[in-house]
């Protein structure tokens, strides 16, 4: 049955505009418009006559113009072009001897323009990109952010104490105080020795010929001033400290500043110290600028300032100058709130070195005992066993090195601390991975590496004639933790629900019949894609949870306060990064699954909409919280595997699996936030807060 055509009044009443008609007559309309006007003119007398009038007008103008101009001899120039040749010769003479550069540029230009256009474009774009890369490279040093700069400097500081045999970090600083009335400018030379092997510390201040030695960090100085004490003989302990400050009163002020701002007085000019202070302040404004040192070396200045009001001795702003060549801090300016005025303290490094204990002069450490006792007596002069703190530091460095190359996420690598050092052993899948792991671990003191590639391990087993299945199993950290997963051949527990969900989304209500088969295929493909993504994300979160649990188990009993600043920083960085990774995977997993699961929940009237996981008793330590988080993630992973891979679920909770999975996302979110906050609070310097806030 043919449809009735509805008359289009708009079409029937259409006439070309004057401009359109003129353009049509003048042959200036586009093909489609031209045909439209032409069709119209065939039917419309009025417009046709108008068009003819336009044609006649054009003809009359052209006729008029022709009368005057057609015969060229009727309109000739006064001088009849007689001067042109002379002028042209003059122009040519200007170009008779082109400059060498212009000739070259003309040749290059002609060659470039003779290239086929697409190649010319590609060449041009490549040239622009190359120039941009060159410019970026030129400005590379200035492109670091404050966090990145500090991070690099901390890495450099951690790496520098890895050199075996050179355990003493020596720093000679010039401390200058700049202040207005009533204080006068003051300068003092301050030498510091830090023995990383035993934790011993020593310092010496000198003003003119007077110099005093002390072993107590400035930050531990008693609050009351002791300016009234007179110079006496060199002694140890607090007496020595007071004499030190008597030699250089400026150090007394620095001690108060360090204490108020919770700065480690043993390392006044160090990236870790700066980072410790930097993370305690909120809000803060930061800026990185390029500068040049007096010896011509390039350097970057990171300036961190905060808002008031300020208590006396609070740092208002700190500028740390870091040499770009080796990311070593060379000077620092602390702007401090005094009781009545603002004071600037400038710490400039004049000497720095890594020294052997034996090379130190008498009196530096000779009068104090090492803080940590050696684990075993030395057997030979060459074989020196590490101190306990050194061993822990080495172990954390090794863990951090493996963490950086993501070897902590389920790879069969084991770290074993023994009395004589840290042993890292395990299997790498490929020789390349083995090289990567060994490179990451090299130069860490007291660490021996014994990593084999799979091929090497197999060859070794064949040679030995024994099959070491049990050994290889024991190396895999994660496999032993998981209960066996049974994958059923039948359909998923929520297969029907998923199919319904995707079919509804894929089909519009008015879709024609015959599409159902195609929709079913599409829905199946979508279910497969969703399931694989869900399983993959859950696995990612679980891998990080295992790594976090390992840290919690190993370092649960260790008081983070007793760790060296660098070790504490590394441990916190690992915890922080694992928590962030878990949160990222959970957020992605949640955004992927929540719409689907909520639609399934809406159909399941029996299940509780507000299903929640069992409440767990709150724990106060970070390790306990990490273990709780691990358990929740493992449960979430099992539920995901049950719902989207058909794996068996040990608990008889299949009926509420959807609601429980949704609740587990909430719980992971809560627990990870809690752990992050706890790390922030428990750390004496609240080191995580700033970073967590930044990275959110």
């Amino acid at each position: 049955m043919s449809r009735l055509r509805v008359p289009s009044w708009t079409k029937e009443n259409w006439h070309p505009s004057d401009d359109e008609l003129f353009c049509y007559v003048d042959g200036a309309l586009k093909a489609g418009e031209n045909q439209r006007v032409k069709t119209h003119l065939e039917a419309c007398w009025t417009c046709r006559v108008k068009g003819e009038k336009i044609q006649a007008s054009i003809a009359s103008f052209v006729g008029l113009l022709d009368n005057v101009t057609q015969r060229s001899d009727r309109l000739l120039p006064p001088r009849q072009w007689r001067t042109f040749d002379a002028k042209a010769r003059k122009v040519m003479s200007e170009f008779a001897r082109p400059w060498l550069v212009s000739r070259w540029s003309a040749t290059i230009r002609d060659t470039f323009f003779s290239i086929y256009l697409p190649f010319r474009l590609v060449g041009g774009v490549a040239l622009v990109l190359a120039l941009a890369a060159l410019i970026l490279r030129f400005h590379q040093t200035a492109s670091v952010s404050a966090s990145e700069l500090i991070h690099r400097a901390v890495d450099a500081e951690v790496n520098q104490v890895r050199r075996p045999g050179l355990s003493v970090v020596y720093q000679k600083l010039q401390v200058r105080r700049k202040a207005g009335v009533p204080l006068r400018d003051d300068i003092v030379t301050w030498e510091i020795w830090n023995d990383s092997s035993s934790g011993r510390f020593s310092q010496r201040a000198a003003v003119g010929n007077a110099h005093k030695l002390s072993h107590v960090p400035l930050g531990s100085l008693p609050t009351e001033t002791r300016k009234e004490e007179k110079l006496g003989s060199t002694q140890t302990g607090n007496t020595g400290q007071s004499e030190l400050t008597a030699v250089a009163p400026i150090l007394l002020e620095l001690g108060q500043i360090f204490r108020v701002n919770r700065i480690d007085g043993r390392k006044p000019l160090a990236p870790t110290t700066y980072e410790t202070w930097r993370r305690t302040i909120e809000p803060k404004a930061e800026r990185v600028e390029r500068t040049e040192l007096s010896d011509g070396e390039k350097a970057l200045v990171v300036s961190t300032s905060t808002k008031g009001p300020f208590a006396p001795h609070s740092i208002i702003r700190a500028d740390l100058v870091v040499r770009v060549k080796d990311w070593h801090p060379v000077s620092e300016i602390l702007r401090v709130q005094g009781s009545q005025e603002i004071r600037d303290y400038e710490l400039t490094e004049t000497d720095f070195g890594l020294l052997a204990l034996s090379s130190l002069g008498p009196g530096i450490f000779s009068d104090i005992a090492p803080q940590a006792t050696r684990a075993i007596p030395q057997t030979t002069s060459q074989l020196v066993a590490p101190a306990a703190t050194e061993l822990v530091a080495a172990e954390i460095m090794a863990r951090y090195a493996l963490h950086r190359v993501k070897a902590c996420l389920g790879e069969p690598i084991e770290i074993l601390s023994r009395f004589d050092g840290v042993r890292v052993s395990g299997l790498a899948e490929t020789p390349e991975r083995k090289e990567e792991l060994i490179a990451a671990l090299q130069a860490i003191p007291w660490v021996t590496v014994k990593i084999q590639s799979l091929a090497e391990a197999e060859a070794a087993m064949t040679t030995a004639g024994t099959v070491g299945d049990s050994d290889s199993d024991s190396n895999t950290n994660t496999s032993g933790e998981l209960s066996p997963v049974t994958v059923r051949a039948s359909k998923l527990p929520i297969q029907d629900g998923l199919k319904r969900y995707f079919t509804q989304i894929g089909n519009s209500p008015n879709s024609p019949l015959g599409e159902s088969e195609r929709s079913a295929t599409d829905a199946h493909q979508k279910i497969v894609a969703l399931s694989s993504q869900a399983i993959s994300l859950a696995d990612t979160a679980l891998a990080d949870a295992f790594a976090l649990r390992r840290l919690a188990e190993v370092y649960a009993s260790l008081n983070k306060g007793s760790l060296e600043a660098s070790s504490r920083w590394l441990l916190e960085a690992m915890i922080r990064e694992h928590v962030q990774s878990i949160r990222a995977a959970t957020v992605r997993s949640r955004s992927l699954l929540e719409p689907v699961l909520l639609s399934l929940e809406a159909r399941n009237e029996e299940s509780a909409a507000s299903k929640s996981l069992e409440e767990v008793a709150p724990v106060s330590d970070w390790a306990g919280q990490a273990l709780q988080l691990f358990r929740t993630i493992r449960y979430m992973e099992r539920l995901t595997a049950y719902l989207f891979a058909g794996a068996s679920l040990p608990e008889a909770q299949g009926g509420h699996a959807v609601a429980t999975l949704l609740a587990s996302f909430n719980q992971i979110d809560r627990q990870s936030s809690k752990l992050a906050d706890h790390v922030q609070r428990s750390s004496p310097d609240r080191s995580d807060s700033a970073v967590l806030k930044q990275e959110r």
Partner: protein, 186 residues
Amino acid sequence: MDTENCLESKLLGVRREIVTTDQRVTELFETMRDSVYRYVVLVFGNPSEAEEITQEAFLRLLRHLQSGRIVDHVRPWIFRVAHNLAVDLQKGRKYESNLDADGWEECCQTREDPEPNPEMRILQQESFKLLEAALAQLSCQQRQCLILRAQGFRYEEIAKILRITSSNVAQSLRRGIKKVAELNHE
């Protein structure tokens, strides 16, 4: 027009051979100078200046090509340069100059008439007067558009020469033609 296009393509073909550029420009000049001059003199008046402007436009083409640069479409390029030169000259004078009576007289007197015929001369003078009257009715832009269109330029080319839009060109042409027609009816 065909000759000009042919020349243009020849010029494009040899533009990288710098040695012969001046010859080619001279050849182009001889072919195109009258149409350029006619445009300038009819639109802006003053035959002496129109001659200088026309020559200068071709000399600039010569310099342009000699310095190794490229001109893709020579004819619109020359008209555009000539137009800009004339506009700049007018800006210096601060007023618009039609071809005044003296100018027309100069045009008429400087022409060469191989066959002096009093009757033809009267007819041509009549034509000049009619054209003068018609052009005087038009605005500057209408005059420019009409004469360029009469020189065979397409709307887009006119728009580029005058730095206006194609729709402006169409509008100017329609109104200009309408005015000319009204004058004819009168």
